[in-house]
Amino acid sequence: MNLSVFLNHQWLNFWRARNANKSLAIQIILGIFYFLIFVEIAAIGIVLPFLLKEKMPKTNPISIYTSYLIYYFLIGLLARFQLQELPSLSIQPYLSQNIQRKYMLRFLNTRSLVHYINFLPLFVFIPFIIVVVVPSYGPIAAICFFIALFSLVLNNHFLNMYIKRKTINNAWFFFAVLIFIAALKGLDYLKILSFEKASSSLFTTILNYPILCLIPVAMAILVFIVNNQYLKSHLYIEELISENKKKESKNFTFLNRLGDIGEMIALDLKLIFRNKRPKSLVVLSGVLLLYGFLFYPKYLATSNFSALFFFALLITGIFISNYGQFLFSWQSSHFDGMMTYNTNMHQYIKAKFSLFLTVCSLQFLIASFYGLMSWRLLPLQLAAYLYSVGVNSFVTIYVSTFNYRYLDLRKSASMNFQGIGAMQWLQSLLITFGPALVFYLLDHFAGFWYAVLGVSLPGIAGLVFHESIIFWLVSQFKIRKYKILEGFRER
């Protein structure tokens, strides 16, 4: 059994996946997107040495480069948690065939290596090495340096695989490493301990004594062997993906008092917590709350209120946008059931709206802390919040009645474009740029407070008339109900 046969099957699988051909346009756009990213990173890799020479002519570019390498590898590990998937599921059909285990192991290892995250480092390392290292240290040292770096990349790769397989609770580990990195940077900044200097001297030592590159190589081999051993002894379906925690029945007592709507909301919450894709999506949106730290200061400095409003919209409305995109598709696997249970459509849609209202309000409350940055952010965020719950929530519900695509909740959300069509892009644009534009115009022509008022009014109107709007949404939903049901049945 050749390795090439496995890889060939994977190749076919990629092209023949159920929804792969449904939107050629999307595939092309994605392809261009990825290509551009690659080109950008390659460009950075090539330009970096010259940039360094220019900006910091006094310091040795190599020492700067090497001092940041430690962050590169740590962040690389983090990125892999999110972006790298275990190839375990693909091995199931082969387990019962007349194939020796060693071939399957070989496949699992090789298959996992074929990932763009393993090709990126080439673009980051090679240009720099050629331009800077070779002239200073000679070709042999450069080659050994590259070997050392790439071994560390492989080390990261198999370490990530191992950790994921052992199912050390991913979320905790992720934050632990994140905090670790922040701590390192903090210690460095406060000049207590300098890990950057340590990193720099570490890698420069390798450059000076090329033979030392064998150490990272040994590390990589070690992690590979550990990973392989684990795989060998766990090549059983249920052990490749270990999920053996006992599941508890959850009871949201406060929601119980809200009747049918409370039941629906509880259902949505359980859906989010217990399924991979919605969970990672929602966590991502949660992290977006912190974006205020990134963007607010910049635009506060220039008093660019329109831009600030745009980000306020993002921060308060991200849940509606992310979760709402697939509002009905989340329940696509049991939508048949949802339509026959003893509840009416009005309750169902109202429950979705209530969910939006609750989460949005929570986000607004948390985001109020940004008011400490500048009091002007508070009215902006209030306007954004009102607009999000009063207008965007309904727009999102309306647009999702056009979504007929089935969603597999077990796959991860990163890089998962199943179910995304032109509608989704259009919707994202509508609900963020639309109001931002309106705000800009009002601000430009009338002034800050008029702009705030102008965007808040539709929101308030939406909230006041929500019953009638929901009525209308239900009728829209009923028109397309059959199409939705049909689309969801097609897996």
Binding site: K246, K247, E248, S249, K250, N256, G259, D260, E263, A266, L267, K270, L271, R274, N275, Q331, S333, H334, F335, D336, G337, M339, T340, Y341, N342, T343, N344, M345, L409, Y482, L485, E486, R489
Partner: protein, 232 residues
């Protein structure tokens, strides 16, 4: 209970369901048989307003099922896993459906305890989500959830297919009792002509979307069905 008039549903020009006139009454246990692709599941989906018909109408207790949602309060069904919320534990699912039918947790608990034998210790308190149960057990969960609301109309698609023999017999008993005592209208589709002839008071034979035989259940029905299928 159910009145179907001139019902037609076609895909790509071919009729999946074509029924001129059909009436179902409370207290009847209707067995729906037919070869694969005869249109049984499509008919169920039409009755549950999950598919839009091309022609005709379905009345439930005199009201059109497409115009109002009232039928949901006395109708329950289990067709396939699409009727289960797979990321809930069975208990959560039962409480959820119970709540929708105005049953408190205590009511649901009471209800479940009366079906303890049916569950056979395999379903409650297992600490698993519904998606982790075997197909047959999922079916059991679906059927019991369907009964939670004390429906007047119950639709089951191939219930005998996935159950173990002891549960199959229990189900036959349950169906007969419920139809008699509670005057429920129960529609069951199956490929098992033994069970179907035993449990049904009326048997409908479907072929290529139309009902070609409408006979009274019992011994003679069994013989007639064997006759029909042997020739096919």
């Amino acid at each position: 209970m159910i009145k179907i008039t001139n019902l037609r549903k076609s895909y790509n020009g071919i009729d999946a369901v074509n029924i001129g006139h059909l009436e179902l009454h409370p207290g009847e246990v209707i067995g729906l048989v037919g070869n694969n692709g005869a249109g049984k599941t499509t008919l169920f989906r039409l009755i549950l307003d999950l598919i839009r018909c091309n022609e005709g109408e379905i009345l439930s207790k005199g009201n059109s099922i497409t115009q109002s949602e009232d039928w949901k309060s006395y109708t329950a069904a289990y067709i396939d896993e699409g009727f289960l919320i797979d990321y809930l534990t069975p208990e959560e699912f039962f409480y959820f459906v119970g709540k929708l039918n105005q049953l408190s947790k205590a009511d649901v608990d009471d209800f479940l305890s009366s079906y303890r034998v049916f569950f056979d210790e395999a379903i409650l308190n297992k600490g698993k989500y519904i998606r982790d149960f075997s197909k047959g057990n999922q079916f059991k969960i679906g059927i019991i959830a369907a009964l939670l609301g004390n429906p007047e109309l119950l639709i089951l698609d191939e219930p005998f297919a996935n159950l173990d023999p002891s549960t199959q017999l229990r189900l036959v008993d349950m169906i007969k009792t419920m139809a008699m005592e509670r005057k429920m209208c129960i529609i069951v589709s199956s490929h098992d002509i033994n069970h179907v002839s035993e449990v049904s008071s009326r048997i409908l034979l479907m072929e290529k979307g139309s009902i070609i035989k409408d006979i009274i259940g019992g011994e003679s029905a069994y013989a007639e069905m064997v006759d029909y299928f042997k020739i096919r």
